[in-house]
Symmetry: C2
Subunit: 145 residues, 2 copies
């Protein structure tokens, strides 16, 4: 426990940036969640815990966390960007029901090979991938959509 804070600390130190209570609280909040979250979700979650952190700080902090490898951008939903914590989790892809919005995560090891092939054939240094599959879940199918 707490290793995400260690990573944050190290990441900031390496760039001579400051380890502030706000940045720590944001990371704590993110890793206390187990869902896909928006900036607003974080803001309200922190607020409930009596942590008054401005949206601006959240917006300014997220890119740092992404570049530190703690957080990933998942997709857009209703005009909002959704994120997830990636540290400490195996990489996974998303299967989404277009009708009800439900998201199922699944592993897809084959994509490692795809990455390797692209790297070799095109000379790219590949940093990662994002696979999103869209469809209709069983429940929504029977409801007829």
């Amino acid at each position: 426990m707490g290793s995400e804070l260690d990573i944050l600390r190290e990441y900031l130190a390496r760039r001579e940036m400051r380890y502030t209570p706000e940045r720590e609280a944001i990371v704590r909040e993110i890793f206390a969640r187990h869902d896909h979250f928006s900036v607003e979700d974080l803001y309200l979650g922190l607020r409930q815990k009596k942590q008054r952190i401005s949206r601006a700080s959240i917006y300014r902090t997220l890119p740092l966390l992404i570049s530190a490898g703690l957080v990933g951008q998942v997709f857009q939903e209703n005009g909002q960007t959704l994120y997830e914590h990636t540290y400490g989790h195996e990489h996974h892809c998303h299967l989404r029901c277009q009708a009800c919005g439900q998201v199922v995560e699944f592993a897809e090891p084959v994509l490692q090979e795809v990455e390797a092939r692209l790297a070799q054939e095109l000379g790219f240094r590949v940093e990662g991938h994002k696979l999103e599959v869209n469809g209709t879940c069983p429940a929504c199918q029977s409801k007829g959509r």
Copy 2:
């Protein structure tokens, strides 16, 4: 040639919607392009051809074209949503250079199998997928990024 217009016509007819010059011009413009485009790109492209079509109409038309299977949403770039025409092209995935923004398209047949597996194992009806691979292209690697 013109089959995208046929599809548009049929799609609109089936829903008792109108086949307007604006909708036709938008589809023509989209299929005259061979890149990823934003709403602004379309707007300016049409304007250059002396077609004064409002942004609002473009925003209102794109969802129709997506649901008609003519157009797909690719990804976000600088806060803008980018689209591509999908009709008449084999499905492909995108490999993107994070440094220069260049996008390389590639086919990935393995994903058909992934879709099939998900459909079988989870009972979803799968409609499609979007794979985006991120990395650094050879040129940007040598420039050191």
